[in-house]
């Protein structure tokens, strides 16, 4: 099985790349940090969409929720949030390094926990919905959140929040004498958030890798394959679904908290709850790499991010049209994704044993009529379920 043989070298390569990247490509630190966030997006979407079969179009909700929770936590201990976010900008603010890092730490922790709480609450509502209703319901949740936050003046409304500025490197803080040497504040911010994003992506990956190998992972797959049967066998599906969503929310909340601070400015529709950009990227990346696999989302996210960064600026405004076409083409012609396609072509690489006996029988049965009948039956069942 090739998976076992290449696993270690791949881990070593990725770890080495992650560690040396900010030194070797100092000009691309922010882009590579975004790559780690994209990988977190794809991995957490796949926990739901790939492993559990619940295709959410609104997971971006937790990204935005985390971002806002973190921002409020960073401001609230030191200033009045309402005054701070006042668009007239009368409040003159500055944060000492201690205040900044204390606020950031608090913000990240509460963003993660707050997202989990939100997932548990909204899980009660959305997990009664099945299939496309779930996708539309979660999409509605994310859009509604963006609209409502936009009308909430306490957190800046549609004008958004300008986040605290990263402390400048001249302060005699021990952190700045760590491995970075004498960097300017902007570079320092880039490197700092690079590391936090890298650690987040690694933790997410390792946690999910462990999770998919436990009983819990099997339960998720059982829900995906046949929820009614799983429930009949005694799987507490509602509990598992909510916990799985909470896991997605936990990591997405942290990624939102970090992303807000990387950008330095947030507003509800384009940055915090971007349903048609990041919200759909995460679905596309997971599908492109191969949903329902551990490595698929990582490969899909990497490929997508590289293509995006290389071609985006050369497309002169047509990039969103290209994005839409990419979604259509991926969904229509290449839904199994890269890893899924490899599994089909080279099952032995993945240690999958193909039973030639059944395969032969299936070939016999593959007359046009049988296919037609099967398709009709499937269509009827799907139709009944939808109604």
């Amino acid at each position: 099985m090739i998976g076992d043989r290449i696993e270690k070298p791949v881990y070593v390569f990725l770890a080495v790349f992650g560690v040396i990247a900010p030194m070797v490509f100092p000009a691309y630190v922010q882009q590579i940090a975004m790559l780690w966030i994209m990988i977190v997006f794809a991995l957490t979407w796949d926990t739901m969409g790939g492993q559990m079969g619940y295709n959410s179009l609104g997971n971006i909700f937790f990204f935005g929720a985390g971002m806002y929770i973190a921002a409020v936590c960073q401001i609230w201990p030191w200033y009045d949030v309402g005054e701070y976010t006042d668009p007239s900008g009368i409040l003159n603010t500055s944060f000492t390094p201690d205040q900044y890092f204390l606020g950031l730490g608090l913000g990240v922790v509460l963003a993660a926990l707050g997202s989990v709480v939100l997932a548990a609450i909204f899980g009660l509502i959305v997990f009664g919905l099945r299939g496309p209703y779930f996708a539309i319901g979660t999409l509605g949740l994310a859009i509604a959140a963006g609209e409502l936050i936009g009308a909430w003046d306490w957190v800046g409304g549609g004008g958004g929040i300008r986040l605290p500025v990263f402390p400048s490197g001249t302060d005699a803080d021990p952190l700045f004498r760590l491995p970075f040497g004498d960097l300017q504040s902007a570079d320092l911010q880039g490197v700092f958030f690079y590391w936090t994003c890298f650690v987040l992506a690694v933790l997410t990956f390792l946690f999910l890798r462990w999770l998919y190998r436990t009983r819990f992972g099997l339960m998720l797959n059982a829900i995906r394959d046949d929820e009614a049967k799983a429930e009949a066998l005694g799987v507490r599906t509602q509990l598992y679904k909510t916990v799985a969503w909470s896991i997605s929310a936990f990591f997405l909340g942290i990624s939102g908290a970090l992303f807000g601070n990387i950008i330095g400015f947030m507003e509800p529709l384009e940055v915090a709850f971007p349903t048609v950009t990041f919200g759909i990227f995460m679905v596309l990346m997971a599908l492109l790499g191969g949903k329902g696999t551990l490595w698929g989302p990582v490969i899909g996210a990497t490929l997508f991010h590289i293509i995006k960064e290389v071609t985006w600026t050369h497309l002169l405004g047509w990039q969103w049209v290209v994005l839409g076409l990419l979604i259509v083409v991926t969904v229509v012609f290449f839904q199994q994704g890269i890893v899924g396609w490899l599994q089909e072509k080279r099952p032995e690489w993945f240690g999958i044993e193909v039973d030639r006996g059944t395969a032969g029988q299936r070939a016999d049965a593959e007359t046009a009529d049988a296919l037609e009948a099967a398709r009709d039956a499937a269509g009827d069942v799907a139709g009944d379920a939808a109604r």
Binding site: Y133, G324, V328
Partner: protein
């Protein structure tokens, strides 16, 4: 079996009195909606002021009701198209709103080069019919028998292509196609409200279009084929109906209906490349609430949504209008869930 309960009631529509009477859940939900509204009103002083305005200048209510009904009729028209595609092909068409906006931009383009928007109506219908056919051949045909998320995501991709394409061609400004019909100010009991003739005209056109579609579905050969396919695609195929053609026609018909709705919207309201998603959500709200093949339900839900939106836009502020639509979506989905739970309990 003594404990067996009577069979589950047949699927009923939105606001069906028989259903409301028989269900405690329905009233619970209505109570919930009322509570949400009350809370929203209480937390907002602005909203209270606006409510006072509605009481004192009661003519404003007529304005809101009329505007809501006129715009709601057009929502119902687009939703009927969605119900058709959903019911016949089982495709959840997420680019519904983009077709509406495309129709609107056709009218706007013609208006821009000096042609009256009324002429835009047939042009949009024909153009969007052809466009729908092309989309069917290129994409929808390939996803129609795949799982439901596939068609949902594929149409979402189409929606992104269309909205961004329109944005590149026409720019992100809000546009409208003026018909030049007069606007009258009606004075009534010491107050006044405005009455635009174009809104009434659009309302009548909308009704005529809906009637034409209904007659087409009942009387024409293709309409019968569509209904046969909706009932049982396999049996229809056995009877010699070319279901692929039926699907293509249904999808194109939906696009044409949306295009017509878009022309009407462009005449009485505003269009913008990114307003499509809200129209899609409106159609989903209406169809989910009414169910398929339930024309009175679609009309009631459409008009109701139009009025509700106008009122929330006035009372809570224009910021909340889109949030209202999405909130309605969530409520309708919760409602559906309650019905399903009830159904499940009865079956058990």
């Amino acid at each position: 079996m003594a404990s067996q309960k009577p069979a589950a009631p047949a699927r009923t529509g939105f606001l069906s009195p028989a259903w409301l009477k028989s269900s405690g859940d329905g009233w619970t939900l209505l109570l919930m909606i009322a509570l949400v509204c009350v809370v929203l009103v209480l937390i907002s002083g602005q909203a209270q002021n606006n409510l006072t305005i509605l009481q004192v200048a009661w003519q404003q209510n007529i304005q809101l009701l009329l505007d809501g009904l006129f715009i709601g009729a057009i929502f119902a028209l687009a939703a009927y198209g969605l119900a058709l595609v959903w019911g016949v092909m089982n495709v959840k068409n997420l680019c519904q709103g983009e077709y509406v906006i495309m129709g609107g931009y056709i009218a706007y383009y013609l208006y821009d080069i000096g042609i009256h928007p009324f002429v835009g109506l047939p042009v949009a219908i024909v153009f969007m019919f052809g466009f729908g056919w092309a989309i069917y051949v290129l994409v929808i045909r390939r996803v129609i028998d795949r799982d439901l998320f596939t068609s949902l995501l594929a149409t979402f991709g189409i929606a992104i292509v269309l909205q961004q394409g329109l944005n590149l061609i026409f720019g992100p400004e809000v546009q409208t196609a003026r018909s030049g019909l007069p606007t009258a100010t009606v004075t009534l009991g010491g107050g006044a409200f405005t009455f635009a003739w174009i809104k009434l005209t659009a309302f009548l056109m909308c009704g005529a279009l809906a009637l034409a579609v209904v007659i087409f579905m009942k009387r024409s050969r293709m309409g019968q084929a569509i209904r046969a396919t909706a009932q049982d695609a396999r049996a229809a195929r056995v009877m010699g109906i070319d279901t692929d053609r039926v699907y293509a026609f249904t999808y194109s018909l939906n696009a044409a209906i949306c295009g017509a709705a878009g022309v009407l919207i462009a005449m009485i309201w505003v269009i913008q490349p990114f307003y499509g998603i809200t129209h899609s959500i409106r159609s989903f709200v209406i169809v989910t609430a009414a169910g398929f093949g339930n024309l009175p339900g679609v009309i009631t839900a459409g008009l109701g949504l139009g009025v509700a939106e106008q009122y929330s836009g006035f009372v809570l502020g224009a910021d909340f209008q889109q949030a209202t639509v999405v909130g309605m979506l969530l409520l309708v989905l919760i409602w559906r869930q309650i019905i399903e739970n009830k159904h499940r309990r009865v079956v058990e």
